[in-house]
Amino acid sequence: MRKLLFQNLWRSPLTEPAPAPSEQALAELGAKVDQVARQRLGRSLAIRQVDAGSCNGCELEIHALNNAFYDIERFGFHFVASPRHADVLLVTGPVTVNMREALERTYAATPDPKWVVAVGDCGRDGGVFAGSYACVGGVGAVIPVDLHIPGCPPSPLQLLEGLLALLQIQ
């Protein structure tokens, strides 16, 4: 183990330079996010991820944000275990009817000010699952959404670009 740790001290890091925040996301957020709330939260955001019926593809890419290449914590984002600790709900999936109440309760348990980011094509409008008896069809149909990050699934880079728009790191 010692050898491995020493090697890591000498090697240059794998972490890649920060991408620019997504223009599209900035435009979507501009009208919605209160400047005061942004100042109050500063540059540290606690994210609670909620799977509301995804195929688990989005979860895999959200997980990747924590790896050495993307290292999301360097921007002040960190994933938390409870909605009560969260500033941002990162919601995936077409919102299944069976998850609707759980999502509503998670939203209610998150203290204000809070933002909701809907991830993936399903999170926007149900994606390939739209029209099913078992899906509500989009996060926005259940709780207010501040930002959409499309993709099936969005790549970690796309996720980062969207999330950075929340912090407006320019």
Binding site: M1, K3, L4, L5, L14, Q49, V50, D51, A52, G53, S54, C55, N56, G57, C58, E59, L60, E61, I62, H63, A64, N66, N67, A68, F69, F79, A81, S82, P83, G93, P94, T96, V97, N98, M99, R100, E101, A102, T106, V128, F129, G131, S132, Y133, A134, C135, C152, P153, S155
Partner: protein, 506 residues
């Protein structure tokens, strides 16, 4: 019928269905259905799937070493003899049939709904699809009797980046006395969406039954369509499909090995394995244009060929893994404090593994040898040399070592595939016979064997398609794995299984 009759003999007593490939499908009487249930209970055969459609239930059965078949029982009065009464692995599948199709298993030991949480606007969406006329009784968890017991309800929203499901623990102090799972939260109604879908739409849907296994699902769907239409695909497509399948296995195994160790608070392993996983996804992106390889395998072949530098990219990637992975294996092997958490934790009796027919690393870490790449087998694996790692210690440690063994096999398989990758087209037209046809395929995903059964309409739309995730036969065994372990070891046990919620809930 003689109690030790072979599967073939039993199926020959039924009425064969024409246009079903490649295994036989026969219409059986209730007596034959019961004979099959008894054979499953006796351990002569393994349950591969149990699903329904309006008026019929289907049972897919495997007899070692290489016999497969499907028995179909017409249920004119909406009832069928319960298989779960004799063979517990069928119980959740029967509860699902009752929820989705409305066919009732007679004398079933558990009549509670499973996927239906009494929230959908319809009852029996694959059957009568009528609005609910009355509410279901509240869901009752199994009773637990004893002194000093306490319950810990967990979920559906879990404390991490994980899929949703509910776990009801009953513990005596630290020791778990019973775990009961309640799933169905991510039920998306995929089987209903598949009815009437075009092949293109259906392939996209089946590729999203469980995103981590998108390649294996797309492959199983494509193979079932090709079986139904008697289509031969170009040989190069077989090679490319296997490349993608092994890349998917590598990505998931790297992720799982790291994540299991992380659940024992050994974050170093996760950090390094996550780098390896990312390298797989980047190689996949460079070679096939999608990090998770979604929608790359389609009926008739594959959607994208390797770029000119594809082989070089993959060779370099393999060389990188061969440099970086062995030190991590050594790290695991030499860290006693980590093994202290994994050895003997989450032990499952091999007899239970056998009874449930657990596939994938769970099954092969617990004494099973089954691997769909060998049996029933499909190209190009019949021409490749590989061994199937197998262990019998059946604990968390065993499941880690099994994945390590499979990583090494997959690396070698990719090298072999690259060496003999034939040139030529990667996609061919499907035979469109203009009549109904049925096909079935069994494919080895990273989690285990995935079954896809389908019936195509004369206009090549999907009449009915049933994808069965390996998790159906793994989730129930997790309940046994955690028994008498401490509550704090549940994440470790759960991660060593890594069941799919989405694949199970459909």
């Amino acid at each position: 019928m003689n109690a030790t009759a072979s599967l073939q003999t039993v199926l020959e007593a039924g009425q064969p269905v024409a246009e079903h490939r490649p295994w036989p499908r026969v219409i059986v009487t209730p007596e034959l259905w019961t004979t099959l249930s008894e054979g499953l209970a006796r351990g002569s055969w393994t349950l591969l799937g149990l699903w329904g459609e309006s008026g019929t239930v289907h049972l897919a059965v495997y007899e070692a070493p290489g016999e497969f078949g499907i028995a179909s029982l017409p249920c004119p009065d909406g009832r069928f003899p319960s298989v779960g009464r004799l063979h517990p692995p069928a119980q959740r599948l029967e509860r699902t049939i009752a929820d989705l199709v409305g066919l009732q298993p007679v004398d079933a030991p558990d009549s509670r709904p499973w996927l239906d949480h009494d929230r959908w606007p319809v009852r029996h969406p694959l059957g009568s699809a009528t609005p609910p006329s009355q509410t279901l009784p509240p869901y009752r968890f199994l009773p637990v009797i004893g002194e000093s017991l306490h319950q810990i309800p967990v979920g559906p929203v879990h404390a991490g980046i994980i899929e949703p499901g509910h776990f009801r623990f009953t513990a005596n102090g630290e020791a778990v006395v019973r775990l009961e799972e309640r799933l169905g939260y991510v039920h998306k109604g995929i089987e209903s969406l598949l009815q009437g879908a075009s092949l293109e739409k259906a392939a996209r849907l089946v590729g999203r039954v469980s995103g981590d296994s998108t390649v294996a699902y797309a492959l199983a769907f494509a193979r079932a369509v090709e079986a139904a239409t008697e289509t031969e695909i170009p040989v190069r497509a077989h090679g490319l499909r296997a490349l993608m399948a092994e890349l998917e296995r590598l990505a998931n195994h790297f992720g799982d090995i790291g994540a299991i160790c992380n659940d024992a608070a050994f974050a170093l392993m996760l950090a390094h394995c996550a780098v390896l996983r990312e390298q797989v996804l980047r190689a996949s992106m460079a070679c096939f244009g999608h990090r998770l390889l979604m929608d790359r395998i389609v009926p008739g072949g594959v959607a994208t060929d390797l770029p000119v530098d594809g082989i070089a990219i993959l060779r370099e990637f393999i060389a990188g893994c061969r440099r970086q992975f062995p030190p991590l294996v050594e790290l695991y092997d030499n860290t006693a404090s980590l093994q202290q958490r994994t050895v003997d934790t989450g032990f499952v009796k091999p007899a239970l593994i056998q009874q449930f027919g657990c596939g994938g690393p769970i099954g092969r870490a617990g004494g099973r040898t089954f691997d769909a790449r060998c049996q029933p087998g499909y190209p190009p694996y019949d021409e490749l040399e590989f061994t199937i790692p197998r262990r019998t210690d059946s604990d968390v440690n065993s499941r880690i070592w099994l994945r390590i063994g499979e990583v090494e096999q997959s690396l070698a398989l990719i090298e072999q595939i690259l060496e003999r990758l034939p040139s030529g087209p990667v996609h061919g037209a499907l035979n469109m016979p203009g009549r109904m046809g049925e096909g079935v395929a069994l494919v080895e995903g990273f989690r285990g064997d995935i079954l896809v059964w389908l019936r195509l309409n004369a206009d090549s739309t999907v009449a009915r398609c049933h994808p069965r995730d390996p998790s159906w036969f793994q989730w129930p065994v997790l309940e046994a794995a955690i028994e008498n372990n401490i509550v704090a070891d549940f994440p470790l046990c759960n991660k060593s299984f890594n069941g799919s919620y989405s694949g199970h809930d459909l």
